[in-house]
Symmetry: D2
Subunit: 379 residues, 4 copies
């Protein structure tokens, strides 16, 4: 929660929203009870009059690239906050819920979810090149996602891009837009490590589909790509294909309170252009994806637009604004990823658990010799 909230630095919005969470139900003495966990976060620094020059302006103009107009088209009403439920403030609930999922995934399966800033405007951590048309073809990228931790990412506050040089350029770029009362977009990259294999459904609810759904539901997102992504379209199949290799041995469980090592698949893949998902189902390799965020719609410049009365006019925004949401979006992306994995894990647990009570079938795997091993292993 603390990582998401605004006011973290001079680069992000100066609103001082403390975002303190109050647990209303579902736990007792620190233990969940099975009942729904209700969390309440009061907005302690709400100043609606700040938008649109004193409240009058916002009543006359739907703000460009905000949800004011579409919300009105949909519901036929308008709240004083403009876009009603479409406010990005709702992401606080996602981060709170995601924190619970993350804790479970870490303890029970050793899952690690780490996101970081990989692009701000034209500055990219791993720009496409002839040799590396896409991240997944870049060994430096693969090495980074194999090791990067949240602690490491937060060493690069406020930008959260885990590379000194690029991070500095990004910070300068954001400062520049802030000074121009303008804004800029960017890209968040996220990796999920140690995800169990077998998650995701083969048809409509492929894991990449539910991940895309979750990410594109975050306010201000414009794109999603997994594995080789858009760049992968430019690679020949013979190079893009992801042959299987024997998986490395799993290190023994550590004793210091860390989750015990879970059973891992016997095979893994070589290139991981797949991004950890094949045919909609996880294969146990790192899942990684990019999410594109547009430049924030609230800017400090006056904007020529048209009002609710169909008359043209100028909307002046004197309020607080955030020149770049990418750094604060990092924990939101992590939280949504955790929720998607948690859902898929519960669905697959039901299946595996049900199957584990049936007698072993003799003919479910192709190679006779490995059959018994696999049948047991996959339970």
């Amino acid at each position: 929660m603390t990582r998401r909230r605004p006011g973290q630095s001079a680069l992000t919005t100066p609103r001082n929203e403390k975002d303190r969470v109050e647990i209303q139900s579902g736990t007792e003495d620190g233990i969940t009870l099975g009942s729904p966990i209700a969390l309440r976060v009061l907005n302690e620094d709400h100043r609606p009059k700040d938008y649109g020059g004193g409240g009058k302006n916002i009543d006359a103009f739907p703000r460009p690239s905000h949800a004011d107009w579409t919300y009105l088209e949909k519901y036929g009403v308008k709240s004083s906050s403009g876009g009603g439920r479409s406010s990005a403030r709702e992401t606080i609930g996602r981060v709170a819920a995601g924190a619970i999922a993350e804790k479970y995934l870490k303890v029970a399966h050793g899952v690690e979810i780490v996101a970081f800033t990989s692009g701000v405007g034209p500055e990219h951590l791993f720009p496409a090149t002839k040799t590396h048309p896409t991240q997944s073809a870049n060994p430096a990228f693969l090495e980074l996602i194999d090791k990067v931790t949240r602690e490491r990412v937060d060493e690069f506050l406020p930008v959260r891009c885990p590379d000194e040089t690029v991070c500095k350029s990004m910070a300068e770029l954001i400062a520049e837009y802030r000074d121009k009362a303008d804004s800029i977009g960017g890209v968040v990259t996220c990796v999920i490590r140690n995800c169990p294999s077998g998650l995701g459904e083969p048809c409509f609810d492929k894991l990449e589909a539910t991940l895309a759904h979750a990410m594109m539901s975050i306010p201000a997102t414009k794109g999603f790509e997994i594995g080789s992504g858009f760049g992968g379209c430019e690679m020949p199949g013979s190079i893009h294909n992801d042959p299987f290799v024997k998986a490395p041995a799993v290190p023994p469980a550590e004793a210091n309170g860390v989750a015990p090592a879970r059973a891992r698949p016997r095979l893994t893949t070589k290139t991981n252009n797949s991004g950890g998902v094949q045919g909609g189902i996880t294969n146990g390799a790192h899942i990684y994806f990019n999410v594109a965020f547009k430049p924030p719609a609230t800017i400090g410049q006056a904007q020529q637009t048209v009002g609710y009365d169909e008359e043209a006019g100028v909307l002046e925004a004197k309020g607080r604004h955030d020149p770049c949401v990418i750094p604060r979006a990092v924990p939101i992306v992590e939280a949504m990823a955790a929720l998607v994995v948690m859902d898929a894990l519960l669905a697959q647990s039901a299946r595996q658990s049900a199957r584990s009570l049936l007698p072993v079938l003799e003919r479910t795997v192709p190679v006779a010799e490995s059959e018994t091993k696999l049948s047991n292993g996959s339970r």
Copy 2:
């Protein structure tokens, strides 16, 4: 259906799948009865032994970048077809269902959904340039999506890229990969015109989120972007923002059997960097998006990989294969778009219809003068 099926040209897979649809239930004398419409398509040209060199190979190796391995990890069984339900053949059901949704959307709302090939490997219809970092900033793109029809797209068969020069380059590129027994990916662009405003939910089921979900559930997709997309991240907010303008007058309904002109929103936007969706809700402007498809995993070359028994070996694929799925993916993208819009439309219809029976509220819109107009108009 005919537009999706293989065997359309020498560039696509030579499998002769007739894909004839048999209606099993739900209609009588050409009229739907309200009961579920069951469609059956028999696979009349199924040759499982063709994959993997005579059926032996496929039993020993999980095919790289296919779902063979993950399906086995998930379900603990393996079908003779390899990836079980993950076969792209299931998209035939999507196209059949989409056709019904499309027909309704066209007749009742005049909605037009047109997709086309916009990229094959490194060949792009609208490549990013300094001036136009993204499609949405390119007037030629905006003009194309305003006019393009399915008939026009199909004049460029088999590639379905509606530009003579680019189409020719793409066709040559595909032929080249076919001759090398290799494959190549690409991008499909889709536009939805005349979509009613107010569709999509403000939070988790934003229209861009459900569209992303639908598109990323199509086999072989690796990315999705809407409106300005990934390129939009590089634009300043002051340029990216999408001011409102008065909407043009709606032309009167035509008499020749075409759907009557539907009520359209009073305002529209100037740049449409938003891609027709703001805050997750449609604003009535053209919705457009790109979908990235990886190169097909089935190639004619031998591949070094590891078998189910963890031993390395060579998988030879002598069977039929399709060097590029983009042209055939076009109608699948259209069908999934139609299903997403149809779902959102029904949800919004329930809301609007329920609201229309309540007395008009005096205080639901900001500007006094336009209030009555709007309240009525929005119903």
Copy 3:
């Protein structure tokens, strides 16, 4: 809310739970905003130590016929309140949500939902007789449900049985059980008037099925019957069958703020043994049903039972308890009925609204003459 809360009389539980509702989100100036409406009710009179004789007892014994044991079996944890989420206190949320649905149904469709106490222990408002094996065969019953109002029911507080003699017997019976530190069950009957026709799905979500689901989800319910119910099983089909008759003319809308008269079906049925639902779909006639409530499990007598430690012992319950929940269950039944009808109405509104935009078909109704009328009428 006030009608449900305890402490209404000496016959119901003396707990003084004020049940004040605080609206946390979703409205502004008394108008809903389209965002979720969050309601919060604080439990201001919570005394967990009162159950089970000082808190010790409840820690040693799962209370008979409560959810203490099953909740523990399900979740593996135990809250200090015993049954965790299974407490009947959760019904307050149902009444609050139902109140919103009821208001809409009343204003938009003139729907009236009235429940009342029809049985307490062996005392029945309409006991089965030879002549009238079931309520639906009893003209007095049909007359009552045609007219009864909530105001009328509340004249019979605290029992809420709208018949002076029977109500008095019931009150005496409840007092008797209260004095014996015992409890008694009963039956609530509910009628839904002016429900639009066409609600409910033809197969799994028949309206009687979703009503049964809703009613059987209320704590302490043991049975549900609609229309002729269990008694109807004993009637011959030739008498049970519900022939059609021409519906009476709809009276013109009244001017005094009452909802305008809605379009009603042209036909209605004669016996209404169907209870307003045929083939899972409403026909516009009164929907009526009974819900059975068991005697409250919390009684003032000591009970011989077995503890968590598998040892037999005596559970003494010195706390407050309610000898009969029927009177307080009345508004809960009404609320759940409103929620079921509201859901079905929204689903059907989507369908009707979608259909209304299609050209009229010439062959959708059997009798040529009435075809046009009906096609128009049913939209």
Copy 4:
């Protein structure tokens, strides 16, 4: 399937519907593949003209107590079969799907689901008496449901009431109604034995609620009661309450192909007035419930009714009809019960499986001594 189909005797409908099932997808060599299992049953003896006297009558009159009228009100269309999807023929899909669930439940958990005819018209297997106001208070009933098997029930074909005397009376009653060209309703009782504890949700999806939903979705049902049911309302709480007792030891697994004995709860209850469910969650005891079926609406007598044209007239039904559906409803009730239990089991499996990977908590159960045992046992 065979148990459900008509034509089983002179007492049920003479239609010779063979109801042969063709598996269209989802299995290979007798093993399920994880993909949906599609089953197709062709109606080989369809004679729509038989209803309503030559097809003309049915076009003029909505059949009383059928779905003809409500289906038309809902969808605005009418199929030649009258009630469209509301035909009871759709239950064949339920029986087919239920058979798969039953097989799993039997093999994996030893679950036994047995239904039987317990009432035909006024003839009841366990009529309410002063001593036994409800089945659950009748030791003979409790003994029967503890032992009864499907094989035993089918010895009493065609009536399926497992008591020689009562069965004979029922058969005579049905024959009498058949000869009068009339029909009669009845009650089916169902018991679920060896159901795991912990199934069902504590609030809206209580197991009794989803069971009621499932049962009331079967065509022609009018009521549902579980455990003590409607009769239980008449019992004092002090007698109705269901104290806990130590559960009997589980017999060791048998060797002859029978499912191994599963872990059972340490406690069970004494009266089982609860019907195996407390607070919406199963406690491991026998689940039993009654389902009321109305007399079939199709009778051989002429009926005075009103036509689609609002004119009164006489509907003559010369076709085949079934004087009592109870015997054939038995396998449908069993199938729906299996589907409900299967769903609840999968949901609970996901929870248990997820929880089993967390470290054991020290404070989740009340009694220190039994804590470890329970925590382990409940996983």
